[in-house]
């Protein structure tokens, strides 16, 4: 699988090829996101998909990134093993997450659903490396987050995770460009390179003309798109979204969800999204995890791989 996409023509592989073809069509149909490396990647995916239809895969598409991404599709991205997160408030113990075990494969789009206080945001924070479990393990791409030092956890957040929040969490005193550049500063990317990358990222989400605007000068949808651009700037493996449409009207919310779905499908990026809107989850996610009182109560697969 790692070496060649089309040598092994078993059923699983055919399914993958069909999926790639679907993604490429989707992407080609939605390349309004920008003329960037995404487009190049879309092209490669479409080439791969068509070739998988019969002719065979040329060598140039077997570049490392492509192979890695396709390889990721079947590997485990997130595994939580009986993870618990208990807080003490005075004399009361709050069991925010209470023994959840889940596996999320790379490239999956998983929605975490549940009422307020069900523990979905707490679980997301554990996967994001913002919080540490009271017990159990959170393993992301082979790294047990509970065992990482504070420094390594910060590096994990910087390089492996991209986060989108309900309240956008853009820094008000910075322009959009500076906001998107911020993770690159933490990653010690050179100044000259940084600006170009941030610009490209904003252009991809359709904010090329708003680079020097401050967040307060933009609509909610635009702010969330900028937040997405910032989340993706360091090319993370996971996109974690905490109620990304919670502060948006339905039309803007749909725009954002389409964008997230594109990211999931074109880049093969694993998406874990917290929402309380079941309809939204059903429309965009491939899998729904229902939580209640810190426990997993239902795991619904919506499609083979979406």
């Amino acid at each position: 699988m790692k070496e060649s996409l089309c040598e092994n023509r078993n059923g699983a592989h055919d399914k993958l090829c069909a999926r790639l073809a679907f993604i490429s069509l989707m992407v080609e149909g939605n390349c309004s996101v920008g003329r960037s490396s995404w487009v190049a990647r879309c092209d490669r995916l479409s080439v791969a998909a068509h070739i998988c239809g019969g002719v065979g895969i040329p060598h140039f598409v077997r570049d490392h990134r492509f192979v890695m991404e396709t390889n990721q599709l079947n590997s485990l991205a997130i595994r939580t093993e009986n993870v618990r997160r208990h807080y003490t408030m005075g004399e009361t113990v709050v069991r925010a997450v209470d023994g959840i075990s889940i596996d999320v494969r790379a490239g999956e789009f998983v929605a975490l659903l549940g009422a307020s206080g069900s523990g979905k945001s707490s679980l997301l924070n554990l996967v994001a490396g913002l919080d540490r479990p009271t017990s159990g393990a959170v393993v992301v791409h082979g790294n047990n987050l509970a065992a990482l030092s504070r420094e390594s956890l910060a590096k994990y957040r910087l390089h492996t995770v991209g986060m989108v929040f309900q309240s956008f969490n853009l820094i008000a005193s910075m322009t959009l460009l500076e906001n998107v550049e911020l993770p690159l500063r933490f990653a010690e990317v050179d100044r000259g390179e940084r600006s170009g990358l941030a610009r490209q990222s904003l252009e991809r989400v359709g904010l090329g003309g708003r680079l020097s605007h401050r967040p307060m000068e933009l609509s909610g949808g635009e702010q969330q798109r900028a937040s997405l651009a910032r989340a993706l700037i360091n090319r993370p493996k996971l996109l974690l979204a905490d109620e990304p449409t919670g502060n948006l009207d339905s039309r803007t919310g749909t725009e954002i969800m389409e964008l997230i779905r594109n990211i999931n499908q074109t880049l093969g990026m694993t998406v874990l999204m917290v929402t309380h809107e079941q309809a939204l989850a059903e429309k965009y996610a491939g899998r729904m995890l229902h939580l209640a009182d810190g426990k997993l109560v239902e795991d619904v697969q919506l499609g083979a791989i979406r």
Partner: protein, 463 residues
């Protein structure tokens, strides 16, 4: 994060709360200014005192004399030969002393009481010889009216202020004498006065003026000499405010003549003794040393030659010690304001943490490490310290100048010469800015650590 990015973000954050941060920075600068002003005055006073003391000749001079003069002082317990065996302080000895390493010059102390006639009136006073080198290294002649002697042995005289007043028939003033020496010098400079003195000669001679052959008296080891009464007319060239020798002895001279001239005149009493070969001897020598540090070595060398020697070098140590203590106190008082300012930094940064709690949470969620957050707050504290330090040094400099200016106005009113009581050396500028930076960074320690420890989940929930 790279240093550039830390600095850039720190200045951006400081600009965001410009008013509050400016107030904190001004607080630091006031602290630094008080420190700089205090220390600049301390240093200025120290320099002023050192200059005065150095020019007074107190600390670079060793007074050497023969122990023969102390034959009757049994309590003098010095090492070396007994007074009776001590060599004579003659010209050969003077030359030998001048050869000692570090000695600039060795000249005899010649002073005597004699009569001076001016305007047909006799005036009795103490006359002293002044070496020609005093022109540059004795501050008594700095503020004089007229000029210094034109040559080493020119028949010229410089008068002390009180003697000038006496010559002009003015009554000496009680309390602070605020008479302007320029007014005293005007009617006197260029005029002549006549000094009457007794010359000691080895053989009887006829004087050029009204001569009077003296009988040999007190001849030692059989050598005979005679005393001739002579007169020397002298031209008044200057009037000085201070007594150049006031710090060296109780006997205050009021009339100063070139030393070489006095030596050539062989004025009695030239010595109380005479050396074996009959050449005149000196009562004592003033030995000027190039550097005050060399004084003990020179003193020892003179003692080894069999002479008695003393200096006031230990007094310099006390003076330096006094100024070290003074500077210490001034620095402590100056630092108090800086200590208050450092509390201001802590307060400002802790406030900034509260205000930017959510921002810190966002940065951590985006991948900022504890070190990044700590570095950012550290840089903000450092930037305030650096800017405050630079501003404070400028303010301190201005305050020091104003105090100096005010003091000089006061001195001028009291008819004292102007003095530089304030000095801001480069080390003080750099040290003050460095100290301000250090204090700010120390003040930033706690807020920076607190910001770095912030729980990102809690911080992101903060509204």
């Amino acid at each position: 994060m790279k240093l550039y990015d830390v600095t850039d973000l720190a200045f951006r954050n400081l600009r965001e709360s410009i008013f509050r941060n400016s107030l904190t920075t001004i607080g630091i600068s006031v602290g630094v200014a008080s420190l700089v002003a205090m220390l600049s005055l301390g240093i200025g006073l120290q320099q002023l005192a050192s200059q005065r003391l150095e020019k007074s000749g107190l600390f670079d001079t060793v007074v050497a004399s023969s122990k023969r003069d102390m034959r009757n002082f049994r309590e003098a317990r010095e090492e070396g030969p007994t007074p009776a065996d001590s060599p004579s302080m003659d010209e050969a000895a003077r030359r030998k002393i001048e050869q000692i390493n570090g000695v600039v010059e060795a000249y005899p102390d010649i002073r005597f009481v004699t009569e001076l006639r001016f305007d047909q009136k006799p005036h009795l006073t103490m006359v002293a010889g002044v070496p020609f080198s005093a022109k540059n290294n004795n501050d008594a002649f700095d503020g004089m009216q007229g000029r210094f002697f034109s040559s080493e042995s020119s028949p010229e005289v410089i008068l002390q202020k009180s003697f000038a007043e006496e010559l002009l028939g003015m009554a000496p003033k009680q309390g602070i004498d605020d008479r302007n020496i320029a007014d005293l010098a005007k009617p006197l400079v260029g005029k002549e006065l006549t000094m009457r003195y007794a010359e000691r000669t080895t053989s009887p001679s006829s004087g050029s003026s009204s001569s009077e052959t003296g009988a040999p008296q007190g001849a030692a080891e059989g050598s005979a000499y005679s005393v001739v009464s002579r007169e020397q007319s002298l031209k008044i060239v200057g009037v000085t405010d201070l007594d150049p020798d006031s710090m060296r002895g109780a006997a205050r001279a009021r009339v100063f003549l070139p030393l070489k001239l006095l030596q050539a005149l062989h004025v009695m009493p030239e010595s109380r003794d005479a050396s074996a070969n009959g050449t005149p001897t000196y009562g004592s020598l003033s030995v000027r040393v190039a550097n005050p540090n060399q004084v003990p070595a020179v003193e020892d060398a003179i003692k080894k030659m069999g002479f008695s020697a003393f200096s006031l070098v230990d007094a310099t140590k006390s003076v330096r010690q006094f100024f070290a203590v003074l500077d210490g106190f001034l620095a402590i008082f100056g630092s108090l304001a800086l200590a208050v300012a450092s509390i201001g930094i802590v307060n400002t940064l802790v406030m900034a943490i509260l205000e930017r709690r959510r921002e810190i949470g966002i940065m951590k969620a985006l991948g900022a490490s504890d070190a990044d957050v700590r570095g950012l707050f550290f840089a903000e504290a450092g930037a305030m310290g650096l800017v405050g330090g630079a501003l404070g040094v400028t303010m301190g400099w201005v305050i020091g100048r104003l105090i100096n200016f005010g003091t000089n106005i006061y001195l001028a009113r009291q008819h004292f010469p102007p003095a530089q009581i304030w000095s801001v050396p480069l080390w003080l500028v750099l040290g003050a800015v460095g100290f301000s930076l250090l204090v700010s960074l120390v003040s930033g320690l706690y807020p920076a650590a607190r910001a770095a420890r912030l729980d990102p989940v809690q911080a992101l929930r903060y509204e």
